[in-house]
């Protein structure tokens, strides 16, 4: 028999797993969260799906006022950046007093879901340390502002951590998983799963996410343990591989490594079958965002059908890149929105096929919006620069859809006035149309978290700065504020 060292065995079995799976090395931290997480599982299922639009989505062209189109057109038409009014997909939000708006023409699938009451728009959301109701507040040096405004990496981090006052190592998806660990008692699979690599959003104090590739990789191959066969030698080698993970567990690093490897082995067993979606609503879709959401759908289905999983709460993270449209915005954003709209619609239809249409809620995040004032000119090259507050989409059967949500700004409306500079009632930071957010990331996220089952008592553990903003729940999900029994 070939001699194999302990190190060889670990690297052999772990090569596929360790690159994809990160788990807490500090099991003792679990006890810190134990007081928050009580062992009573709910019987329902809910999932949150964060869709990160990386690069800073220009939401000024995602949701356009039709009533008041002239103000928008006055800034964007000459440079070739305005979406023609006739192409907009009209919506009439009850919150807006009869004013009409239009979605970007490439969002037609989401527009159809809007008509079915399954899509809502949350207006002018952004990173905030404290409320900045007016331009004067923004310019007041005594008022706290988010660190590194307009910087991609910093603002992406803040959107994912919900901490605009300081850098932290945990995200709000992971912290939700921390406080709701009680929802998935004895679970092998972590609550947060990323299909877009490791990110801070899904990191908790005690929770570490699972990262899986998109649907181009079968779930049964995600943690496939290669190098073992049915030969006697291989069986003996596998037995040694299993036994060796029980050794040296008094050494913290070895124990952590063993636990990580064991968890990968356990998950490989759970992922042993690759579920098929029937009907396949993703047929014909080939974009990255569609493959990521398809993988999420397959995991949701596997969890639904597998007694070995049985998770009651799941948090997913997917990402669509390419939104940093300093140039060529018209064509590039159209292509991105087309992919996003089709993928989100296919995902929602799949959830309905699974009977989970109102149990899974997808929502967008993004670094920031972009300047209303164009950068450059000419429809072939015009773009926009980094800005701040942006509109976001929430999709799902539990969404109180077909409406806009938000907090009134200086114009008395939840939707910002599209007027540049220092004009009464506007919220431009300078003169290029960078809207000061009227909704903090915390409020947006807390609304999702409350629907997901985080109790009011646990909200401060997830969102330490939430108390600075009102209301804590924007009301776009139903039933709002359904705290999870046993997790309070």
């Amino acid at each position: 028999m070939t001699s194999i060292s302990r190190r060889d065995l670990l690297s052999l079995g772990g090569c596929a797993a360790l690159g994809l799976f990160a788990r807490s090395a500090a099991a003792s931290r679990l006890s810190a969260m134990a007081a928050l997480a009580e062992p009573l599982a709910p019987t329902d299922y809910r999932a949150l799906v964060a869709v990160f639009l990386a690069g800073g989505n220009d939401s000024n062209n995602m949701v356009v006022p039709v009533t008041g189109y002239a103000a928008y057109s006055a800034v964007r038409s000459a440079a070739g950046l305005a979406i023609p009014q006739a192409q907009l997909l009209g919506v009439t939000p009850p919150a807006m007093g009869g004013a009409t708006f239009g979605l970007h023409p490439e969002l037609s699938e989401l527009h159809a879901l809007w008509g079915q009451g399954k899509v809502a728009v949350v207006c002018n959301v952004g990173t905030l340390v404290e409320p900045l109701p007016t331009r004067a507040d923004y310019r007041n040096a005594a008022k706290k502002k988010p660190y590194q405004l307009f910087s991609h990496s910093d603002q992406q981090g803040i959107w994912q951590t919900s901490r605009a006052d300081t850098r932290v190592q945990t995200g709000w998806g992971g912290r939700i998983a921390d406080v709701l660990a009680c929802a998935n008692p004895g679970a092998i699979l972590p609550m947060p799963i990323s299909v877009a690599g490791i990110n801070v959003f899904a990191q908790g104090v005690a929770t570490r996410p699972l990262a899986v590739p998109d649907s181009d990789t079968s779930l049964s191959n995600v943690f496939a343990l290669s190098g073992f066969s049915s030969s006697a030698e291989s069986i003996a080698r596998r037995a040694a591989f299993d036994a060796i993970r029980g050794q040296d567990v008094h050494l913290p690093l070895v124990r952590a490594s063993n636990e990580t490897l064991q968890q990968a082995v356990d998950i490989a067993a759970l992922f042993g079958t690759n579920p098929t979606l029937s009907p396949d609503r993703f047929s014909g879709l080939s974009t990255s965002i569609s493959r990521q959401l398809k993988q999420v759908a397959k995991i949701v289905k596997l969890n639904r059908d597998s007694a070995g999983l049985g998770l009651n709460r799941q948090v997913f993270f997917v990402q669509q890149g390419g939104y940093d449209t300093h140039q060529n915005q018209i064509s590039e954003q159209a292509a991105l929105f087309d992919g996003l709209s089709r993928a989100l619609s296919a995902f929602q239809l799949t959830m309905e096929d699974l009977g989970y249409g109102d149990r899974v809620t997808a929502f967008t995040l993004s670094d920031f919006s972009r300047t209303l004032q164009p950068a450059g000119s000419g429809s072939g090259s015009v773009g926009t620069d980094h800005a701040w507050g942006s509109h976001h989409l929430v999709v799902g059967g539990a969404v109180q859809g077909g409406n806009f949500y938000g907090v009134n700004g200086p114009n008395g409306s939840i939707f910002p006035s599209l007027v540049l500079g220092d004009v009464a009632g506007t919220s431009d930071t300078d003169s290029r149309g960078r809207w000061i957010p009227t909704v903090a990331v915390e409020q947006y996220a807390a609304t999702l978290a409350r629907w997901f089952g985080v109790s009011d008592a646990n909200l401060p553990a997830v969102f330490p700065n939430l108390h600075r903003f009102a209301p804590a729940d924007l009301g776009f999900l139903s039933p709002p504020g359904s705290g999870l029994p046993g997790c309070a």
């Binding site: 039709v66 997909l89 009439t92 807006m96 009869g98 037609s108 080939s286 991105l336």
Partner: protein, 252 residues
């Protein structure tokens, strides 16, 4: 830009007003005030008050379809769930009538087009929904893609039931339901031959039928369905190829 039903008929809210008498300026302002009062009532969960306020806004300014949309939305929210009583069905008919009028004036409007089915579902009137979808599919005034979408919607419940029957081992009934679904899907494809979604659903229907044929040992039917299935899968691929925007470069 892709040519899809939402773009076939542009958003024509502004032009809808020409069918109505113009209000005087004071009425427009008063109507706006009523609509804003309706929005506040909506936000407070007072849907009856909201519907009444939107109704007053319509009376003051009938040129703005958005007030009718809002009234229809509020009335829709007031429908009792899973209630097939005569008064509730009468209220349903009223709301459906408003949406149908709005769609008749703006036949490509996706917001209007999608608003009705959920009302039938809310009330629990499955038969009514099927009748309404059939009427929509047969309405030549509507865009073909919209009519095809109605047929696809009409097929979906049969497919869902077929899947459940198949899962429970009742393959014969599953095949019957899948066949009904497939007939509707094929009618939809006549109207809108490039719909990837419809082609994909047809594949699913054929898969259910094929499973039943194999289960029943009907080799002739199995062979025929296998050939159809191969062709249907190719149709999905071809429809996807025709849709250039499905070939968008990867962005991640």
């Amino acid at each position: 830009m892709r040519a899809r039903f939402s773009l076939l008929v542009p958003f024509v809210v502004a032009t809808l007003g020409t069918a109505f008498a113009r209000p005087v300026r004071g009425d427009e302002a008063a109507a706006r005030a009523e609509a804003e009062a309706g929005s506040r009532a909506w936000a407070a969960g007072e849907l009856q008050k909201a519907a009444e306020a939107f109704g007053r806004a319509i009376a003051l300014d009938p040129t703005r379809p958005s007030y009718s949309v809002l009234r229809a939305r509020a009335l829709g929210e007031l429908l009792a769930e899973d209630d097939l009583s005569a008064p509730n069905l009468a209220r349903l008919a009223t709301v459906v009538g408003i949406w149908d009028e709005l769609l008749a004036a703006d036949p490509g409007n996706g917001e209007y087009a999608q608003a009705v089915p959920r009302l039938f579902e809310r009330v629990g009137d499955r038969a009514g929904l099927e009748r309404w979808l059939a009427a929509r599919a047969a309405n030549p005034a509507l865009a073909p893609a919209l009519r095809a979408a109605a047929l696809r919607s009409a097929a979906e419940p049969f497919l869902g039931r077929a899947s459940r029957e198949a899962a429970d081992g009742r393959h014969s009934e599953a095949a019957r339901l899948a066949g009904l679904a497939r007939a509707r899907l094929e009618a939809a494809l006549v109207l809108d031959p490039d719909s990837v979604a419809t082609h994909a659903l047809r594949v699913h229907a054929l898969e259910v039928e094929l499973a039943a044929a194999r289960q029943g040992g009907d080799s002739a039917r199995s062979s025929r369905l296998e050939r159809l299935l191969v062709h249907a899968r190719q149709s999905v691929a071809r429809a996807a190829e025709r849709d250039e925007e499905l070939q968008s470069p990867d962005d991640l």
